[in-house]
Symmetry: C2
Subunit: 333 residues, 2 copies
């Protein structure tokens, strides 16, 4: 049916070994020979069989990425950057998502490894130790992103540091009655670190949250939870675990007739596109998603090549836009 190495070898008048070398390590072949082979390849319209190649060489050139969801721009952008940073033609990206369900994440990881993934990109550190063991046994290299830690190779950032900087800003404005609108923290170390990081800083100052809501990712969920949080009239600031929740909160505020930031301060986390589209534009924590994707790709390649790569911690940064202000009481003073 399709041309094989044998056909090419026959037409070019060389052995299959030489054909293979032309494709995988051209320098090990005399230019003249190479030319003949390449010509044969072209006239036969030959392209190597993937399965055979994978079987014989024990690598597929496929890298797997397992993310909670692509619906969150945070991951979509990160994956996009990651894919662009993969050396053209050498690797392809297998993507799977698990909708924040740990069981499904495990299945997806196993599925990608079963599909021959040479390496994996995973999100965060939180997962059953058995998974890490399994990966170790199978000798599948991996890089974790969107978080940081000592236990595993990562290219990420410090969620605690990010939220702490933001809460500090809110405190410095004079807010004392603060609530937090967090993503679901179960099995999600990013969300958990943001919530706990904020909580710890408050505790340090002898304060605590007026209220805390934990809701699934989503605009509408953010809006609803915000309304509930604001039932407590004392609250003057709502710190959100991510931009989508914050955008939802902002929309709810509009609908409730609350002025932002005059009546209430709302902050986000991630700095995705929507953060600069809301009105007013969202004060948030910028995360270098693009850079992170690139660094993760570089690190993973190191590991795949058997080198011992260095984890990378990227800085986050407060982006002060229009949704923060001193609490109403302070303005009265």
């Amino acid at each position: 049916m399709h041309a094989t190495v044998d056909d090419v070898a026959a037409l070019a008048g060389v052995s299959t070994a030489t054909v293979s070398r032309c494709l995988n390590d051209p320098d090990r072949v005399l230019p003249a020979t190479r030319k003949k082979v390449m010509e044969a390849i072209r006239t036969l319209n030959y392209s190597p069989n993937f399965g055979a190649r994978a079987l014989a060489s024990r690598r597929t050139g496929i890298i797997g990425a397992v993310v909670p969801t692509l619906e969150n721009a945070v991951f979509a952008h990160g994956i996009d950057a990651f894919e662009h940073a993969l050396p053209e033609g050498k690797f392809a990206l297998l993507v799977a998502s698990y909708g924040y369900d740990p069981q499904r994440e495990r299945e997806q990881i196993e599925a990608l490894v079963a599909r021959g993934a040479d390496g994996l990109l995973l999100v965060g550190f939180d997962r059953d130790p058995a998974i890490y063991e399994w990966l170790a046994i199978r000798k599948v290299p991996y890089v974790l992103a969107w978080a940081c830690g000592d236990a595993h190779p990562y290219a990420g950032f410090d969620n605690v540091a990010g939220i702490v900087a933001m809460v500090r800003l809110v405190l410095d404005l004079g807010h004392r009655n603060i609530s937090m609108l967090s993503g679901l923290t179960a099995g999600n170390d990013r969300a958990r670190n943001r919530l706990e990081g904020a909580r710890a800083l408050l505790a340090e100052k002898g304060l605590s949250f007026r209220g805390v809501a934990e809701v699934p990712y989503g605009l509408e969920n953010g809006a609803k939870a915000f309304a509930e949080l604001m039932a407590d009239r004392a609250v003057t600031a709502v710190v959100c675990g991510n931009d989508v929740l914050a955008a939802g909160a902002l929309r709810a505020a509009h609908r409730m007739g609350l002025r932002v930031p005059e009546d209430v301060t709302i902050t986000g986390f991630d700095d995705i596109d929507i953060a600069s589209i809301t009105f007013p534009e969202l004060t948030t924590v910028r995360v270098p998603h693009k850079r992170m994707g690139q660094e993760a790709a570089a690190l993973l390649q190191q590991l795949i090549d058997g080198k011992s790569g260095q984890s990378i911690l990227l800085p986050t940064k407060i982006v002060a836009r229009g949704t923060h202000a001193p609490p109403p009481s302070c303005r009265n003073a």
Copy 2:
């Protein structure tokens, strides 16, 4: 190193053929035998070698999706839905993006096929006929999405009908001095159909656009182009080719001190999340991204199984929110 079928067969006291049957077609094996085999598999921690399997069975269970970019929520959501609709465990999704560069798209398609993709999901119809021929020769089934047409199997919608409905709405409001803010149309039939569809409707009414801007996808690009379009003071409505451009336009309008929709009407296309976050919320054309992803997955599987699937045309719908109103002159009247 790792357990192979032979190891499993030996431990279970059966032949490799039986092991293979247990994995691929369990019903053809006596329950008692199957149990023994499964046990052996578990104790050996066996998992089949992907390359060998692909080589012997001539299919990989990998499906490729080639999209312009994952940064556009439109594609991220579609891909997400597509992936979820793939039968769990049977298929995995290889994703590649090409940044709207036709040459790169071709490379990505070839790369995915070289990686053994059993089928492809592509965006739109516009591409070098040679690519379609190549795909036909290689017998790789594919489904096109985000558009419709007779030439190829698709699961998509009618971009012309969508924009026509929107322009009709704008015309009905009384606008006559309309400009269009379009995405780049080169090699992009979705953008082109939207622009040309709108143009054709205007022509039908004896009108034409006051101005047309074609810019690359992006918030900032939309904002800048909007400002230029509005240099023409007669313009009372700007129809945008997608929501991101519209959101950019809206932001520019705010900054220019224009009231929306009192001073100017702005419309979008796609109805992604940001459309309901802007202030005011964006009037746009809803596209059933999720449903489209699902239908595309179903259709592609039919084709992979050798059946002749039926293309699917999904409806679009105007979502009338807050960025449209009669032109100022009409209100004066």
